[in-house]
Symmetry: C2
């Protein structure tokens, strides 16, 4: 099925399969009343996206504060083909999560020491595929 722009609409299953291959995405939130966006390295496990956020950052504040969006994408070198998936969900700080220790590579440099683990349940998911 195609959307208004002629792009292929991906099913929920297709989106989840693509998310499982993703390694970096962007968290979209509101900071000081304005739209904000920040890249994160993430894993997709147990019906949720998981990523670290450091104490005191806007990103962690957003994760404690309600609905956030997430986007991951991948395009070929010529940008004529590719896909993107967006997720909408209510993020929570996952207390006792061992992700920062288990996967220190998910933190950007110098980030790990004070990182908390955020869990974003995959509530609403949508995606598009661009074909050559």
């Amino acid at each position: 099925m195609l959307d208004q722009s002629g792009l292929e609409i991906l099913s929920r299953d297709e989106c989840l399969t693509l998310l499982a291959t993703g390694r970096v995405g962007r968290i979209v939130f509101t900071a000081g009343g304005l739209p904000a966006v920040e890249p994160v390295k993430f894993v997709c496990e147990r019906g949720a996206l998981w990523f670290p956020a450091q104490t005191g950052t806007d990103l962690l504040g957003a994760a404690e504060d309600g609905v956030v969006a997430f986007e991951a994408d991948e395009f070929d070198a010529g940008l004529s083909g590719g896909w993107w998936v967006t997720v909408l969900g209510r993020a929570v700080v996952a207390e006792g999560c061992d992700l920062p220790r288990r996967r220190p590579d998910l933190s950007w440099p110098e980030f790990a020491e004070d990182a908390q683990c955020v869990r974003l349940p995959i509530e609403v998911v949508s995606g598009r595929r661009v074909k050559r």
Copy 2:
């Protein structure tokens, strides 16, 4: 200078230089009261980002409706180094803009016919560099 997460804060000039090398970014807006995000191919010219948006889409609606954010990034294969830049500005539909005709490659497939040109002035810009 480093931010709270230990990431290097980029100057405005560094951000603009990186944006000039970018080809794909993500527009962050609000649709139906919820955060939304959509990738676009863009050019950075004359102090603004320019991208096509098709008539009738949420993306074009957002561009007619106020402040939007934009993000572009690039990471090395191991995700241990890279950069991202975010822009905040008041988008407008640029009437009479020849971009959709001049650069049809900026549209995703089947997108070009009905595309309008959106101009996002680079008002607030910020960026980070991640070093190995």
